[in-house]
């Protein structure tokens, strides 16, 4: 059979098999106005909420937290993207599912909490950002237990703040190791001190301090002068 016959037939079969839907993922809640599609990342990936229906993820697309932690996003981009899509699909189903019995929903939510932690180890979130997601999930499954929710809020926020602190400490450590920045700060302090000592206070002195500091920065970093 000639190619011109096979091609459309193959396309037809693919589309009928669900590829058309998979091509166009949706990233809005079913109830939101303006639901438009975006391409799914993987042709065989579950397509969360397309057209309002939650499509079951294919077995194997959903990874365990341990499996997620084992992925190197750079070396295994397909696997990583597939894992992200599966997480999104799973979250979509979780968000729109109000019919499951309580225990099952809680079980799914707790697995999602573990998954979010696993994704966080792969820089899927900004520092601390996963706490926000975990609180959203926790509210869905523990909303009727205020004491537990309060405790989880404390725990997640503590995690987030600790991450913020580590981020800040890392930044400070990096600057401490930056010889150009250290040289700039040392010379800047001496420069300001010198001008302040030798010039009476006023707008002229302020302008001189600012312009001399800019010139110093330019000499050390080669940035454009104002």
């Amino acid at each position: 059979m000639p190619l011109r016959v096979w091609l459309p037939l193959a396309a037809l079969v693919l589309l009928a098999a669900g590829e058309a839907g998979a091509l166009f993922a949706n990233h809005l809640l079913p109830s939101e106005p303006g639901r438009r599609s975006a391409p799914s990342l993987l042709p065989r990936q579950a397509d969360a909420g397309l057209g309002g229906e939650a499509v079951a993820a294919l077995p194997g697309a959903e990874l365990t937290p341990l499996q997620v932690r084992s992925i190197d996003p750079e070396r295994e981009p397909s696997r990583w993207v597939e894992a992200v899509e599966a997480l999104r699909a799973r979250l979509d189903r979780f968000a729109s599912d109000s019919t499951s019995e309580h225990a099952r929903r809680r079980e799914e939510g707790e697995e999602l909490l573990r998954l979010v932690d696993a994704f966080a180890t792969r820089k899927f979130y900004l520092p601390g950002q996963q706490s926000q997601v975990k609180l959203e999930i926790a509210r869905q499954i523990y909303g009727d237990e205020p004491e537990l929710m309060a405790e989880l809020t404390r725990e997640y926020e503590t995690d987030a703040l600790n991450e913020a602190q580590r981020f800040e400490e890392d930044r400070e450590a990096e600057l401490a190791r930056d010889p150009r920045f250290q040289a700039f700060k040392a010379q800047e302090a001496a420069l300001i001190d010198s001008i302040v000592r030798s010039t009476p206070p006023g707008p002229e002195r302020d302008a001189a301090v600012a312009s001399e500091t800019a010139a110093l920065h330019h000499r050390i970093f080669d940035d454009p002068l104002p």
């Binding site: 016959v5 037809l12 998979a22 949706n26 599609s37 391409p39 940035d223």
Partner: protein, 501 residues
Amino acid sequence: MNRITRRIARWGLVAVGMLVAPALARAEVGDYSAAQTAVNLFVPPRANAPFTAADSADIPIQVKANPPGFNDGFRPGSYYVWQQVSLDPSTGAKCADGSPYKIFVNRSPATSNVLISEELGGACWSYETCQSINPLGATSLPALLSQLGNLVTQFLTTGHIDGLTAINNSVTVVEPLVLASGLGSTLMNRSTLELRNKVQAWTYVYLPYCTGDTLLGFGATTYSSADGTKTMVYQHNGVRNTLAALVWIKNNLEKPGQMLLTGQSAGGVGSVASYTFFRDKLRPTYGYLLDDAGPAFPAPLAASDTRYPSIRLHKKIAQVWHWNEPVPTVQGGTMTLMQWEERQLPGFTHTDFGTVNSALSRKYPADRLAFVSANEDFVFSSYSYRDFYPELADPTTQRALTLAKWHTDVDNLTSALAPLPNFHYYVIGYRRALDSHTLTTIDAYNTSIEEQGLTLNGFIGNLTTQGAPPIKARERNYAADYGRTNLLHDVSLLALQLAGL
């Protein structure tokens, strides 16, 4: 057999056309096909519209890309992970203390569309306010950590946490707490449950804020302490940082089909002011602006500050952030930042910063622009008036008087936006998180306008949908908002307090 196969082929083509055509019609501008996405995983798209001399022709100051061989840390084939990208100081980018500036990128293989967010973090215009930058990172973060346990106990006992509603002391900046604690944009998160919008599937570019100038500073300022014994230089370098980031985006990412520029608080102000630069240089097919709680209030400088309460603030920042200071241009002659903005945005005048809204609306009539905020925002209002109106020093009347001025300014802004066909607004009543400051941070709890059946998620979905009618909504009856809280919102109030707000 041939006849049969020809018929099958013909009907196959028809069927394919019927299936594909509507599907394609539904595809988002800027999204890649599944096949292209698969290719992108292994051959990342290259920058197809890099920054050229033509791009810099209308920029009065020197803009430079990272020098050849400079390792910015960007890995084009890393998708759905946050990457910290360094901008070499030779680009002109630097933080207030002269340290190198970095941005964050989280790339999608499935779309060229980009969500750019400018970070929040207060602002400063004096030695005292600028000196206390970084309060949480330096000192208050451990305090907040140590108090969380007590907070939980109190919350469980009383249902709320006492003593957190008043913002005391002088206003200052809270910049470094942004990257954590949920204070970064909730839109820049691919796995939230409460906000689910198409833009969350796009490539993200996060522009940190470290210059105390709502990303609108145009020079270094010398500040001295009140007693004259201490002097510091503060690099209000926001404009150059934004330009350096823009150059990096053009040189490293593909031309976007769609672009949403957003920002919270200080970043919101920055997003309104810098929209024209991103829009003109990135040239997306569709452009969107979402200014979250960073209002460019109408403030004609010659008018009465009773009528326009933000006038005093605008006069101050214009001075210390060098808005009207002529600088030598690369084209020859001199130009001020505001003259440059006026040239880019017909209808904008430096004598009324608020004209930026209508000027944007007119210049980009097909773009969809939006301002979101709250009637009771006690943070931006404190920044706007506290240092400039002595009568606000009395703690017994401070909150009421501050918010009265805020209400006047919000009235002015919504009145100005009302006739603009493509400028949407969404102003809720009260939300305990950050004392009603910003809607796209922390979480999406209590961000609805119940009386009109609107949700923040729906509003953003509508904003980013071509052809959807504009929403201009301001909540009027919101007594019930005060009864809605969660522990996270209370923690955010404690953070404000510890930050000296």
